[in-house]
Subunit: 462 residues, 2 copies
Amino acid sequence: MLLAKGQPRTAQHVRARWVATVEPGHDDVLEDYVISIDQSGSGKILALTKASEFSGKVDLHLQNHLLIPGLINAHTHTPMSLLRGYADDLPLNEWLFQHIFPTEARFVFDAPLEEAEEFVRLGSELACYEMLKTGTTLFNDMYFHGDVTASVARKAGMKAVLTQAGLLYFGDDVRFSGLVESNVKFCSELISSNDVAIRPSLLPHSVYMVPEGKLQEVNAAYNAACAEAHVVIHTHLHETKKEISDVLEQTGKSALQILDGLGMLNKRTVAAHCVYMTDEEIALMAKSGASVAHCPRSNLKLGSGIARVADMLKSGVNVCLGTDGASSNNTLDMMTEMQYASMIAKGVTGDPTVLSAREVLEMATLRGARALGLEAKTGSIKVGKAADLVAVHLGGLETAPIYDPLGQLVYTNSRHVSHVWIDGKCVVQDGTCLTLRSMDLAAMDRLVSKLRDFRKTLPSAT
Amino acid sequence: MLLAKGQPRTAQHVRARWVATVEPGHDDVLEDYVISIDQSGSGKILALTKASEFSGKVDLHLQNHLLIPGLINAHTHTPMSLLRGYADDLPLNEWLFQHIFPTEARFVFDAPLEEAEEFVRLGSELACYEMLKTGTTLFNDMYFHGDVTASVARKAGMKAVLTQAGLLYFGDDVRFSGLVESNVKFCSELISSNDVAIRPSLLPHSVYMVPEGKLQEVNAAYNAACAEAHVVIHTHLHETKKEISDVLEQTGKSALQILDGLGMLNKRTVAAHCVYMTDEEIALMAKSGASVAHCPRSNLKLGSGIARVADMLKSGVNVCLGTDGASSNNTLDMMTEMQYASMIAKGVTGDPTVLSAREVLEMATLRGARALGLEAKTGSIKVGKAADLVAVHLGGLETAPIYDPLGQLVYTNSRHVSHVWIDGKCVVQDGTCLTLRSMDLAAMDRLVSKLRDFRKTLPSAT
């Protein structure tokens, strides 16, 4: 039995049929192991022991389950879960400018603070509930009223990377500087609070929405206030052809070049999408140590295209996975995201060996942790790391027979999350979310009813 | 209340929150309707009535459910469910020639009859179970020992299009003619039996596995014996670039031209895959009235490519959907197949309006029925058609909120099939399959154990 030093007496011992550690160099799935989870405060993984060599009392026996590290959603907009299915099957510009933006203006941007905060609270609750039920333990979010999402994440028992507001520049210098200031304050407070579950980020929406001069202002403010901490630089990058050509036309440079020139392309950078990347741009990403948050389903559904993930991985880029918001996906289910990432990479390259089940699981876990600067603490099943764990039930006939549990995890659809632990605390038990049991569904119904009414006033609502 | 003439007293009245009829010209989802299902023998839909105008007693109230026509799997190999996940992430040739074919040779082709039949029986049961649980009511199958699959389909209460054996020509004329003869006999008996649930097909595997002369023999034998009936011509067509160039090199023609030249490209033809099609070939398909069974997940997973479905639909080709076998998918879940069809079409065309939720539901239902010559009897919810119906529960928070139930059906993953009726008989109730409750799981375990042992002897098994 591999015991960590000073193991306390209070630990939960979980025996699982299969364990995929996602530790580098340990590709094989472990069969019939007991994982010991600290319950005395640290919430860490204390030991990983062959069941046949375990002498203690097993607290939970997961006989038909695969234990994996908690899934990490590297790019999402949680409150937008309220807009799930709000505007399907529409051209991107119509979707964004005639449906999503006007609705967000009415309910978030231009709404009274209390209403905007309620939107964010209810949307974040809905999102956290879905993420927990589908095995996500940590998410990298981009939205507004991040303090509200932080409260929801704490209530849910989840980990998150957040800031107060995503930065969009609409020509008002004073308002923009105010936003930057409030973000810096939010991040500084998070850093000094030593909150281990909620970590800070810097959130320029994109180069096309925040021009070079403004990016410089943001970067300088952060460097002044938070230089010591690992503050994630979370942005959209090269999502559509149009966005790339617009920036090129206006500045003579690509968005990637602009970020690089500002010193904003480095190990702290998580660039969502990167659908269109030249060979040179891929090489630059790899060299910089920046991460790509690949969002395959959103890129497909909005007709943006298919990112060159196999090429990026081959070149050494740290590619992780994100769902994007539920309004362009329409789920926050990272297991489905893994499946799509693998399937479409095989389909477009013509090579079924790329993005294997093992590789996409690593993208959804360890590579996500690396992107967020948390690789030392989470992202794989290893003694001393946080017990951020997911048990997936593979016992149904729809996943039978099982030759390789990782293949069934990634390529079938009837695998269900039965248990989730975050920092050793069980937050989903037998498929029931324990932490979000008191969601205000009546308030959600009232808000959705208002959204439905507003939707009817939009130009081409279906 | 729209009553069909002579409505008997015995009917089941099901009230559903939403009904998607998939009837041409009726794009809107009906809200709060009662569907009356005959229970006196015909199993037909007797009436579709606004709930507010319904005066009878409702037998079942599906408050958070969308009722859709039964899904139609237009191309599958049911017994291969036993090989689900058997050889993931491998190059196609290695997958087929080093894993699948040797295993099928050992367990089916060269096995004693009793063993081969057991493989087909257990695999078909596993497949039918999964298909029922995911809302499929009718499948177009291609495998061996079709009589065994027919028995399983009858036990499951499902509809199927079958023949005795898929035709592969390995140079043995006598054996091939024997196979053709047994197939013709199987089909003739089906036709004269007037079995409404199991319908016949002619199963040449493909032009690359059955050369022109042999196809002519098959066609002549069928025309002599079954000319009066609608015998589906079920074949693989233009699945990979290699297959197309091989046929072209050997014959100077494309497989499509060969089928057309033999008079085998017509309204009875269901061509699986059609990944690579020129504009001229698409025009020929449209003109011929032949159907394409699009199998998006299998084409992706094996690295075959992505079919030009949006172009085919635009040109008037009847494109329906199939899962292919579970060994290259790895599920038989038609709801997921709808989702992939829509998502990848949007992604590769760059147009998010193509293959809308409405369109892919039609592909998975009415267009499938049309392909199999059964459009007059099933494929949409219409008074007088068979009550082949599926109720999908959309009440979970993972599918909330609901602005358009069809969008949530197609684009989310947490929609669950609660009820399935086939010819008016309830075969799935509250998520439980009623017809396949006595599957021999011990025999399945024994067989899978043998398969696992055999798999270890294969050259590059993972």
